[in-house]
C-alpha cells in the first residue's frame, strides 16, 4: 500500500490513488467517517476524516460546501454562529450504539440521517445539493452543485445519499442550511398508546405546521417553530384542538438520538396509522414513536422477531445487534429492486471494493 500506510487520505487525489491501488484487490475497503453511525463491514478500514474542511459557507445563499470528513459538530457550531442549522436534525447515535468517535458530514449523508423534523423538512437527501465522490475505478464524479434547484442530468446526489458507502467514496458534499427560527414551543398531552398517536396525527393534519410529533416514556409531544407571534398563535389553536395539552420544556435531542435501549436496536419506518398495531406485536420491547408513528424506535432482546411484527406495514432496519443466518440488518428488497441495485453497484464499483458485505 506504499505511501498511504495510515490509510487516511487527506485529499481527493490520495483517495483516487488508494482506490486504484493493489491493496484494494484483496479484501476491499471499509469506509469510515467517524464510525459513529455506519454499518461496520469487511475490508481494510479507510479513515476518511482527513477529507475535512469547510470550502464555502454563504449564509445569504443558505449554502454550505465541505469536505466529507468535516466533523458534524464543527459544521453545526459554524452554522450556529450565523443563527443557522441543518434542518434535518442528524441524530447522534453514539450512546445507543455504544460507539465513540467524531461524526462526519460524509457519514451523515451516506446514512441519509434524519431526526424528528423529517416529516416536515425531510432527511439529509432532501437538503443535499451536490456531491463529489470517487467511484470504484478511481474516477472522480460530481453530481448536483450548490444551488437550490437543479435538475441537470441524472440525480446521482439522491443515489449517493443513503448508499452507505457501497457505491463510492464521498469527498465533498454541498448542503442547504436553514435559519434557526426565533421561537419554538413543545406542547404535551396526557394521552398515551393508540390515543396518543391519534392526537399526534390530528395535530399533523392541522394547518399549524408541526415540526415534531413524538411519544415515548418522555411523554406525548408536539413541537412548533417559527416567528414568536406565529408560535404563540399556533400553540393557542393547538390547545383548542387538543384539550388538556400544555406547554412543557422538552429535550428533542433526546428524541432525535434514539430514546430506547437494548441488546438490539431497530428503526422501523411504518404507515403511521399502523404504528400501534406494530407496537402491540413487540411485547416487552423498549419503544418510542416519532413522526406521529411513522418512525418506531425499538430496543429489545435478540429473541424478538421484529420483522415479523412489521409484516408488510413498513420497513425495519437493525442498527445494533446480531442477526442469525441470511438475515440482513437493512432488510430485503423486492427481487426486481434487488437486481437493479446489484446492477448499479456493478457499474459504480465493478471490483466490489467498497464496504464488502454491505447493503449492496
Amino acid at each position: 500500500m506504499g505511501k498511504y500506510e495510515s490509510m487516511r487520505p487527506v485529499n481527493e487525489a490520495e483517495v483516487c490513488d488508494i482506490v486504484r491501488g493493489a491493496l484494494v484487490a484483496s479484501g476491499g475497503l471499509s469506509l469510515r467517517g467517524g464510525g459513529t453511525r455506519g454499518v461496520l463491514t469487511g475490508g481494510a478500514v479507510l479513515d476518511l476524516s482527513g477529507l475535512a474542511g469547510v470550502r464555502l459557507y454563504e449564509p445569504g445563499a443558505l449554502t454550505l460546501v465541505a469536505g466529507a470528513g468535516t466533523p458534524l459538530a464543527e459544521v453545526e457550531a459554524l452554522l450556529a454562529g450565523e443563527r443557522q442549522r441543518l434542518a434535518f436534525e442528524p441524530p447522534d447515535l453514539r450512546a445507543v450504539l455504544g460507539r465513540e468517535g467524531v461524526s462526519t458530514l460524509g457519514g451523515v449523508v451516506a446514512m441519509n440521517a434524519a431526526g424528528p423534523r423529517r416529516m416536515q423538512g425531510g432527511a439529509a437527501r432532501d437538503h443535499l445539493l451536490g456531491v463529489r465522490f470517487v467511484d470504484g475505478t478511481g474516477a472522480v464524479v460530481k453530481s448536483g452543485g450548490r444551488v437550490m434547484k437543479n435538475v441537470t442530468g441524472l440525480d446521482l446526489v439522491r443515489l449517493m445519499a443513503g448508499s452507505q458507502g457501497t457505491l463510492g467514496i464521498l469527498t465533498e458534499v454541498a448542503l442547504k442550511v436553514q435559519a434557526i427560527p426565533e421561537a419554538g414551543v413543545t406542547l404535551a398531552g396526557p394521552e398515551r398508546g393508540a390515543l396518543g398517536l391519534a392526537c399526534l396525527r390530528r395535530a399533523l393534519g392541522s394547518a399549524f405546521d408541526i415540526s415534531g410529533a413524538a411519544m415515548g416514556a418522555f411523554g406525548c409531544w408536539v413541537r412548533i417553530e417559527g416567528m414568536a407571534g406565529s408560535v404563540a398563535y399556533r400553540a393557542g389553536r393547538l390547545k383548542d384542538l387538543l384539550p388538556g395539552w400544555e406547554e412543557v420544556p422538552a429535550d428533542w435531542a433526546m428524541v432525535r438520538d434514539a430514546p430506547v435501549r437494548g441488546a438490539q436496536v431497530w428503526r422501523l419506518s411504518v404507515i403511521p396509522t399502523e404504528a400501534w398495531a406494530v407496537a402491540q406485536a413487540l411485547p416487552g420491547a423498549d419503544l418510542a414513536f416519532d413522526w406521529a408513528g411513522g418512525l418506531i424506535w425499538v430496543g429489545c432482546d435478540p429473541g424478538l422477531d421484529v420483522r415479523a411484527a412489521v409484516a408488510g406495514r413498513g420497513h425495519a432496519t437493525m442498527l445494533k445487534g446480531e442477526l442469525k443466518g441470511e438475515a440482513r440488518a437493512w432488510g430485503d428488497e423486492a427481487p426486481g429492486v434487488a437486481r437493479l441495485m446489484a446492477g448499479v453497484k456493478a457499474k459504480f464499483d465493478p471490483r466490489g471494493v467498497f464496504n464488502p458485505g454491505g447493503m449492496v
Binding site: G122, G145, R234, I271, R313, G343, F348
Partner: protein, 479 residues
C-alpha cells in the same frame, strides 16, 4: 439541434409494429395515421417537431408493460409523454419511435389524510391532484399545473413558485410504480418514509423518461394553510430588486414564494391578466401564509427589509380575488409573452447571492446580441427564467437566440449554478451538458441508464450529448 438518423429498418417495419401494438391494445389506443400523429409531433418546445411512427395511449400499468415488452422485443424506441408541456423537448418524438402517452391513466387511487398521502395514476394533471382533496394540497406547482401531468412532473423533477418553502417534486414523492423497458413492473418506495436499499426512487425522479415509465405515484400531501397573501413590491432596477431578495433570504425569512418580473414581462402580464401590476422596472411578488396575524407578522419583517432598498411600490392584495389575479398574471407569464413574440425560455439556477450580478450581465449580453429579454423567475431559490424574444420568421433569429441562451447558461454555471433548475435537459440543453459535467460525470449517469434500459430504447436521444451517448444508442456498446 441534431437528432439521430432514424432507423430505416424500423421505419420499413411500421405496418408490422402497428399490427403488433394493435394486438396488445384496444383499437382506440393506437394512433398511426398521419393526421393523428401530428398532434404528438412536439411538446411545448414547439420550435422542433417530428411526427412519431405511432402513438399508444394505454389505460393501465398492465397495458404499459405489454407495450414496452413488445417494443423491446422489436427493438423500437419509446418516447414517454405526460401532457406534452415540456419546455425542454423532453417528449419530442423521433420518426422511428413509438410515443407512449399516459394521459388516459388519470385516476386517484387512494387519498389517505391520516397518513398524509395520495396515490394517483400519473396521467392526472398536477392541479387535479389537489382538486381531488378536501382541505389538503399537493405542494409542487409548476406554472403549467393546469395542464401538466404528474408523470411529467416526476420525469423532470418539476418545481414551481411555492417550492421555496415546500420543496420540489423529489421532496414530495413517496413512491412509484414504474415499468422498465423490458416490461417488468417495479415498486419503489411507498406510503412509509424509508424503503430498503439504494434510493432508486430519487434516481427515477428527474430521469426524464429514460429509466422507465412511471404509471402510479404516492405523493405527500399537506393540510392547506389558513390563508395566504401575496404582496407586490416595485423597484427602480432589476439589481435593487435582486439585492432585496438576497437580504430577505439572509434574514432567515422564508416566504412560500418570491417571484421576480422585469418591465417587459410586467407589461405583457398586465395586458393579459389585468392584475393591477405597477408599471416599474422590476416587480417582486412575495407570498406569505398563515392566519391574518401570522401574515401581518411576516409582512412586517419583509417590509422592514424592503424599505432599506427604497421600493417604489408596496401593495398588498386587497381581496382573495385580487390575490388570484396576481398569481394568474405570474403563472400566465409565458403565455402572455407568447402573445407578443416568439421566445425561448431559459431555466438556469444561480446562488441567490449572485442575482444582482447575473441580472446585470444578462442585460449587457442581450444588448450586445441585439436581442431583447424578459425576466420572470423564482427569485427566492435563484431559479432564473430569462425569456429571449425573437421572430421565428426572420432568418437567423432562432440561431442568434439559441447562441445567446447558451451564453447565459454558461454564465449561470460560471457563478456556481446549473443549466436547468426545473424544466429538465431534454433536447434543449443536451448539447450544453459538457459545460457543467466532465466526461466521467456523464459516464456515471449513463451507467445508471445502462442498468435500467440496457438497450437504450427509452427516450434515448435526450439529456446526453449525442456524441457521448452514440456508442450506447447505436448498440456498439451495451453497458
Amino acid at each position: 439541434m441534431d437528432m439521430p438518423v432514424p432507423d430505416r429498418k424500423v421505419l420499413e417495419a411500421k405496418p408490422q409494429i402497428v399490427a403488433r401494438l394493435a394486438e396488445i391494445l384496444p383499437a382506440d389506443a393506437v394512433i398511426s395515421d398521419a393526421e393523428g400523429l401530428r398532434v404528438y409531433e412536439c411538446d411545448a418546445l414547439s420550435a422542433y417537431r417530428c411526427p412519431p411512427l405511432a402513438v399508444v395511449l394505454p389505460r393501465s400499468t398492465a397495458e404499459v408493460s405489454a407495450v414496452l415488452a413488445a417494443c423491446s422485443a422489436l427493438g423500437v424506441k419509446v418516447v414517454p409523454r405526460g401532457a406534452g408541456t415540456s419546455l425542454a423537448g423532453g417528449s419530442l418524438p423521433t420518426e422511428d419511435c413509438v410515443v407512449l402517452g399516459v394521459a388516459r391513466m388519470n385516476r386517484v387511487l387512494e387519498a389517505d389524510y391520516d397518513n398524509r398521502f395520495v396515490k394517483v395514476q400519473t396521467g392526472r394533471t398536477n392541479l387535479a391532484v389537489t382538486g381531488a382533496l378536501d382541505g389538503w394540497f399537493y405542494a409542487p406547482d409548476p406554472s403549467s399545473q393546469l395542464a401538466c401531468a404528474i408523470a411529467g412532473n416526476i420525469a423532470m423533477n418539476s418545481g414551481g413558485a411555492h417550492c421555496l418553502k415546500y420543496g420540489v417534486t423529489v421532496n414530495n414523492l413517496l413512491g412509484v410504480t414504474v415499468v422498465l423497458m423490458s416490461g417488468e413492473v417495479i415498486t419503489l418506495g411507498g406510503p412509509w418514509a424509508d424503503a430498503a436499499g439504494l434510493d432508486l426512487l430519487g434516481v427515477i425522479c428527474g430521469s426524464e423518461g429514460q429509466l422507465g415509465v412511471v404509471t402510479e405515484a404516492w405523493l405527500r400531501i399537506l393540510p392547506k394553510p389558513e390563508g395566504a397573501l401575496p404582496v407586490m413590491l416595485g423597484f427602480g432596477s432589476n439589481e435593487v430588486a435582486g439585492a432585496c431578495v438576497a437580504d430577505i433570504i439572509r434574514a432567515g425569512l422564508l416566504p412560500v414564494a418570491i417571484e421576480f418580473m422585469d418591465r417587459p414581462c410586467i407589461r405583457a402580464c398586465e395586458a393579459f391578466a389585468h392584475a393591477g401590476y405597477p408599471d416599474c422596472e422590476a416587480l417582486l411578488i412575495i407570498e406569505v401564509e398563515g392566519s391574518p396575524g401570522e401574515i401581518a407578522e411576516q409582512l412586517g419583517r419583509i417590509k422592514a427589509i424592503a424599505e432599506r432598498h427604497a421600493p417604489e411600490v408596496w401593495r398588498e392584495a386587497a381581496s382573495a380575488e385580487e390575490a388570484g389575479r396576481i398569481w394568474l398574471g405570474r403563472k400566465s407569464a409565458f403565455g402572455a409573452m407568447g402573445n407578443i413574440a416568439d421566445y425561448m425560455c431559459l431555466d438556469g439556477t444561480i446562488p441567490v447571492s449572485s442575482l444582482p450580478y447575473v441580472l446585470r450581465r444578462i442585460g449587457e449580453m442581450t444588448e450586445a446580441a441585439g436581442l431583447a429579454v424578459a425576466n420572470v423567475f423564482h427569485a427566492g431559490d435563484g431559479n432564473l427564467h430569462p425569456l429571449i424574444l425573437y421572430d421565428a420568421n426572420a432568418p437567423g433569429q432562432l440561431e442568434a437566440c439559441e447562441a445567446l441562451g447558451a451564453e447565459i447558461l454558461k454564465l449561470c454555471v460560471e457563478v456556481g449554478g446549473c443549466l436547468t433548475g426545473e424544466h429538465g435537459v431534454g433536447v434543449e440543453k443536451r448539447d450544453l451538458m459538457a459545460v457543467q459535467f466532465s466526461p466521467a460525470d456523464l459516464e456515471a449517469q449513463m451507467r445508471v441508464k445502462d442498468v435500467f434500459d440496457p438497450g437504450w430504447l427509452l427516450n434515448p436521444a435526450k439529456v446526453f450529448p449525442l456524441g457521448a451517448s452514440d456508442p450506447r444508442r447505436s448498440g456498439r456498446r451495451v453497458g
